[in-house]
């Protein structure tokens, strides 16, 4: 791959054709200052900080955009360049008003850092006192244009990674400015998905996240820990900043990974804000309408006694959050399923998952992995969204869909009962009520793709044409479809007919809400829905306290005679349902693994050590088993193992007859 050689500051560097000068320099530890450049975003060469001299070329070239060429002799640190760079910094400072002592970014600011690095001790020009506006219309994101250096990172990330295209430039000359939706305030924007990616990439104090500013700047933080977001099955990688023992801010990680280092609004705000919730720090036992603190011994004794009798009567259940780690699911299920031999074990999303599993089954039976990594949406040339609302269900997947459609020009087809979640960018939009009409639509599309009669309705005909021509279509199926497993099967039939074949499986992306839904499949999810009907004497609930409980689960808790809630936070109405509360470590206090939709088992790392009188889950389960005179059995299934393993290549998939399945 090293097919060219060049000399940078006297160092001979080898490089591949297509590398930029900056890439080669970085790889060889040669520092070139940059400001507008950002890993993972298209380089635009606008700040001019990275200018270098190339022998034989009278022009200065920007290292971030210029391809390295064989034999180039490059100088990056001449006196002339240093002066020019200093001048650029001065112009930036004078271009708006940069009074660092009044700026929320001071200390974290890349502009400030460069000024210090370049020994800027004065600005030769008066600052611009004509104030730009400070857009404080968004509840979370603040946009103070007086600090903007127009590096356009925000615009690029919003377009290239989030696909929202909210931000753009307005006006010309020195008054050029960032604007939302071509002239609106950010808070009024219709397209902004509040992901905060723009704030993450902004090098200055222009776009800031109000909350994070008060919790501490990056430089004030004591530690940074990489982990993952448990809130949906994409399992986005995060970097958590720790300050005085608490999570101060959460950011996306790698601009080079397909997600582009973005997080959705849930990850960005939901994760750090959860640290503000009241913590449960010790076991509690209900006395009338309130709780009293209890010892672990007392609490576990009470639980054991209730559980023992209830399970004998077959009236004990366990409801586990799919946001839990593999390890947690594994130990809890080993206790209830394998030790207590209970069959009433399920996840909060049990019904949805059962629906998917049932719909997938005919393909799993063929040895086919019935889905693919969500990032493959970016590789696709035709995307079919079926009964899904990705912006709610797995928001970063919605980014993939937008980016693929708008930038990569993939075709986008939406089939849904309600409104189109991608209004304005779809090539064909079809309304169909679930399940009957949707089934007809799916069948007739499949037939048309297979060469059957051409549908008359224009949107249907267009969809069939797109799918026939597509080389790598992908099908995003929403959780609403799982209520009707036959629709899931039919959607997969359409995928097979359209040759949606990816290396890792069929070109299908199911919208699984919980972070470890796939892990839960092996260990937790039961055969049938017992939760809705059962009159229970005992119900154990493991919650992360991060998402609101659904109505069905809350009703089951109300009906159950004795409820144990194991949760890190005093969240309502959950704790109101409890007879015993057990404290659990919060998401930032745990480590373990998640089985993500991206096809990887990703590790969640402990960000801060647990606080309070906590006990590990395996210890608790072990003690409970002991109190019931049992020995904790090893789990019969490992959560992430062999979940829909691909035994045959997706290309060998065949469509199945719905009648067979029913």
């Amino acid at each position: 791959m090293s097919d060219i050689t060049l000399v940078i500051d006297g160092v001979e560097c080898r490089a591949a054709k297509g590398d930029t000068i900056l890439q080669v320099a970085r790889r060889n530890d040669i520092y070139i200052p940059t400001l507008c450049w950002m890993e993972g975003l298209t380089p635009i060469g606008s700040c001019r900080m990275c200018v270098v001299e190339v022998e034989g070329n009278p022009k200065l070239l920007t290292a971030c955009t210029t391809p390295a060429e064989n034999g180039m002799k490059i100088h990056t640190k001449t006196e002339k360049l240093k002066q020019y760079r200093l001048q650029i910094l001065e112009l930036l400072f004078a271009g708006r008003n940069h009074f660092c002592m009044f700026c929320s970014q001071t200390g974290d600011c890349e502009l400030q850092r460069l000024a210090i690095e370049h020994g800027m001790d004065k600005v030769r020009y008066p600052f611009l006192y004509e104030p730009f506006h400070n857009d404080a219309t968004d509840p979370n994101i603040q946009l103070d244009h007086n600090r903007c250096i127009l590096c356009l990172r925000c615009i690029r990330v919003c377009a290239e990674k989030v696909g929202a295209h909210t931000l753009d430039l307005e006006k010309r000359g020195w008054g050029t400015n960032i604007t939302a939706d071509l002239g609106k305030m950010l808070g009024e924007s219709d397209t902004c998905v509040s992901c905060g990616a723009c704030a993450q990439v902004c090098p200055t104090g222009t776009i800031t996240l109000r909350d994070f500013v008060y919790r501490g700047r990056r430089n004030d933080c004591d530690d940074q820990v990489e982990s993952i977001c448990p809130l949906c099955s994409l399992g986005c990688r995060i970097k958590a900043y720790v300050r005085t023992g608490s999570v101060a801010r959460v950011e996306g990680l790698s601009a080079n990974s397909p997600d582009g280092g973005q997080l959705c609004h849930k990850g960005r705000w939901g994760l750090p804000k959860s640290t503000e919730r009241d913590r449960l720090t010790a076991p509690m036992i209900r006395t009338g309408s309130s709780f009293r603190e209890a010892s672990w011994e007392e609490a576990l004794n009470l639980i054991a006694s209730k559980l023992g009798s209830a399970s004998k009567a077959g009236r004990a259940g366990a409801l586990l959050s799919e946001l839990s780690t593999d390890e947690e699911l594994s130990v809890v299920s080993s206790f209830f399923r394998d030790t207590m031999k209970m069959d009433k074990v399920d996840g909060f999303f049990g019904n949805m998952l059962r629906g998917f599993v049932k719909g997938f089954q005919p393909f799993a039976d063929q040895g086919i992995r019935p889905f693919t990594g969500a990032h493959n949406i970016l590789e696709s040339d035709a995307i079919v969204v079926i009964g899904a609302n990705p912006q709610e269900e797995a928001p970063v997947a919605a980014s993939y869909i937008r980016v693929s459609t708008i930038i990569e020009r993939a075709k986008l087809i939406n089939l849904s009962a309600g409104k189109n979640p991608f209004d304005g960018i779809t090539d064909a939009d079809i309304r169909a009520a679930l399940p009957g009409e949707m089934e007809k639509v799916l069948v007739s599309l499949r037939e048309a793709v297979e060469g059957g009669p051409e549908p008359k309705e224009p949107a249907m005909a267009e969809s069939a044409r797109v799918l026939r021509e597509a080389k790598k279509p992908v099908f995003v199926i929403g959780s609403s479809l799982a209520e009707h497993p036959s629709l899931v099967t039919e959607a997969l039939n359409l995928a097979v007919a359209s040759k949606a074949f990816f290396d890792d499986g069929l070109g299908v992306v199911p919208m699984l809400r919980g972070g470890n839904c796939l892990g839960a499949l092996n260990t937790v999810i039961g055969e049938s829905d017992w939760l809705s009907e059962s009159e229970l004497d005992f119900l154990y609930v493991l919650s992360t306290g991060m998402v609101d409980e659904d109505k069905r689960s809350l009703e089951a808790m109300t009906r159950a005679r004795f409820v144990v809630v194991h949760t890190p936070f005093m969240v309502h109405p959950l704790v109101n349902m409890a007879d015993v509360l057990l404290p659990a470590p919060a998401w930032f206090e745990r480590s373990g693994h998640y089985c993500t939709l991206e096809g990887e088992r990703r590790r969640m790392n402990m960000i801060v050590p647990p606080k309070g009188n906590l006990k590990g889950l395996s210890v608790i389960m072990d003690e409970l088993a002991g109190k019931l005179g049992l020995e904790l059995q090893p789990a019969s299934a490992a959560p992430c193992e062999n979940v829909y393993e691909a035994k045959s290549p997706s290309t060998s998939a065949r469509t199945v007859s719905l009648k067979e399945v029913r």
Partner: protein, 597 residues
């Protein structure tokens, strides 16, 4: 074609048309019909002659009688006298401003004498809305020759031999540029005609598009054939509705004649051409910004490399040339490269069209051979300075150009010598300045334009030009500081060196060249708070000479801010603090006692 005894060419360029030439044409038709001359005399609407100031222009052939400022009410007389009785209407002949002589024939007008009209040869002679007229003057012969007799490589070779260089400003050798695009791998390529012409005061490209649109089309087709492109765009300013209309008609007619579309003239060569209306920003004339604009993005330049020849419109190899460049192509291919290369200097071949404006007697569009001196343009074509004032400078190359002074009058106009002197050929703006022009103010005027038109993308141009302008403004208002001149020089050099595109890369030129040649003017503004040319309003002082003042009170009565005091029949005095420099006093003084300076 039917044979006519006489042709009446009525200019329908933008200038003449707004002066009422369509009405003139209509009247001609009516009058000729009345006299039953309509079978003998053909009336033709043509493109611009470059003499718009004297429009509407009417030229009667075969003699080439040149009538100027013709109104509809004059038509009957021309028809009756000239076309019926054969007597020239003296009254309407063009009056030569220098000699104040009436000139009868086109070719006798000194304005055209030194010109060498190649690109403009059809402008003013043919009806641009009629493809047959273009064809009758050898139009589309070059295309036919290229695509049936020549290989694409041979066409490029011929272009290289001709020495033609880009007329859009950069002066890059056209044949070489074509060879880059031709060599780029890919089976989809584009050619683009840059008709964004955003320089204030420039109208070279507009005149070509309005007067001879088929020449541009033919040039583009030849280029497309040579480079293997099958689709083209003409990016035209939306402010040029007539040019756009003419182009639409031309494209329509060429398509009907099988010259555009699939299998041109029965060959394998196919070519589609679209018109894209510009968004009205100067920077959209920059090639990469122009392509972004065609793609529907904000018109902002991007760094090169990669060059358009490698990665252009929609990422495909693209060749972009200026209107005048394209219009030269058919002539070169028809007459041969040698013929073209015979004109001009060693490295600058052919002719260049300039928009001559400012303080010269004859203004307008001029096409001159490369290598002509500035003196010839100013004094022979332009007829010298108005009022025979003293020549001060020419600003050449538009807002991104620089100014040249007396010592440069004998400089040959070619790419190298202009650049060496600190100016640029640019797209062909040529403004003549006389002693009443303040050079600081002139530099400020151009910088005001460029800083306003900066796309805002890169720091040096966006912020730097603003800071330069602030300093210039300060100087012209009498608040300059001695160190300002060094700062201007330093900033200017930095902006030139570090800007992303040529807008920023050339924006400081007017300041840097005036600073070089007229430093004393800057110093007078800063140190003496005086504008030697008397142009900077804030530095003006109106003073009453007590020896001359007769105390008539007229000045005091006309001052809008009542800042003149004095008793009747006694010398008056202006309160400089309150004076707003409107000049009303001076205009009203009956004895010339008030002076400014």
């Amino acid at each position: 074609m039917a044979l006519y005894r006489a042709h009446v060419l009525i200019c329908h360029g933008t200038g003449c048309a707004s002066g009422g030439s369509p009405k003139v044409l209509e009247t001609f038709r009516e009058e000729l019909q009345k006299k039953n001359l309509d079978k003998e005399v053909l009336v033709i609407a043509t493109g611009c002659h470059g003499m718009c100031e004297f429009g509407p222009i009417v030229v009667v052939y075969p003699e080439g009688t040149f009538y100027s400022q013709v109104k509809p009410e004059d038509v009957a007389e021309i028809v009756e006298e000239h076309l019926y009785k054969g007597r020239i209407v003296n009254r309407l002949l063009y009056k030569e401003p220098i000699s104040a002589q009436k000139v009868c024939h086109y070719k006798e007008i000194p304005f055209y004498g030194k010109q060498h009209r190649i690109v403009l040869s059809n402008c003013g002679y043919i009806n641009p809305d009629n493809i047959d007229e273009y064809i009758s003057r050898d139009g589309y012969q070059a295309l036919g020759k290229c695509i049936t007799e020549m290989s694409p490589a041979a066409v490029i070779e011929e272009m290289k031999k001709s020495g033609l260089r880009g007329r859009g400003g950069g002066g890059f050798p056209t044949g070489l540029k074509w060879s880059f695009c031709a060599a780029s791998p890919g089976n989809k390529k584009y050619v683009i005609c840059n008709a964004d012409e955003g320089d204030p005061g420039a109208f070279m490209d507009r005149s070509i598009l309005e007067g001879d649109p088929h020449a541009v089309l033919e040039g583009m087709m030849i280029g497309a054939y040579a480079m293997g492109a099958d689709e083209g765009y003409i990016y035209c300013r939306a402010e040029y509705p007539l040019a756009i209309k003419r182009l639409q008609t031309a494209i329509h007619q060429a398509t009907e004649y099988g010259l555009l579309g699939e299998n041109v003239l029965g060959t394998d060569f196919s070519f589609d051409l679209h018109i894209k209306e510009g968004a009205g920003a100067f920077v959209c004339g920059e090639e990469t910004a122009l392509m972004a604009s065609i793609e529907g993005q904000r018109g902002m330049p991007r760094p090169r490399p990669p060059f358009p020849a490698v990665k252009g419109l929609w990422g495909k190899p693209t060749n972009i040339n200026n209107v005048e460049t394209w219009a030269n192509v058919p002539r070169i291919m028809l007459q041969g490269a040698e013929c073209f290369a015979a004109m001009g200097t060693e490295k600058s071949k052919g002719t260049k069209v300039f928009a001559l404006t400012g303080k010269v007697k004859n203004t307008g569009l001029v096409e001159v051979p490369m290598g002509i001196t500035i003196r010839e343009i100013v004094y022979e074509i332009g007829g010298g300075i108005i009022g025979d004032k003293k020549f001060k400078a020419v600003q050449i190359g538009g807002p991104s150009g620089g100014c040249l002074v007396e010592e440069h009058l004998d400089l040959p106009v070619d790419y190298e010598s202009l650049t060496a002197a600190g100016a640029i050929m640019g797209s062909g703006g040529l403004v003549v300045l006389d002693e009443s022009n303040c050079m600081v103010d002139t530099a400020k005027f151009f910088l005001e334009f460029t800083q306003r038109e900066s796309c805002g993308k890169c720091v040096p141009c966006r912020e730097g030009t603003k800071k330069m302008l602030d300093i210039l403004t300060r100087i012209t208002e009498g608040n300059g500081k001695p160190e300002d001149l060094d700062t201007l020089q330093y900033l200017g050099e930095q902006i030139k060196a570090t800007s992303l595109c040529a807008l920023g890369g050339t924006a400081p030129n007017p300041v840097l060249t005036t600073l070089k040649y007229f430093r004393h003017e800057y110093e007078a503004h800063i140190n003496e708070k005086r504008c030697p040319a008397g142009a900077c309003q804030s530095l003006l002082r109106y003073t009453i000479d007590p020896a001359k003042c007769i105390g008539c009170t007229k000045c005091a009565r006309n001052c809008p801010v009542n800042c003149i005091s004095g008793k009747v029949k006694e010398p008056h005095l202006i309160d400089q603090e309150k004076c707003i420099k409107c000049g009303a006093c001076m205009a009203n003084c009956p004895v010339g006692a008030i002076s400014k300076g």
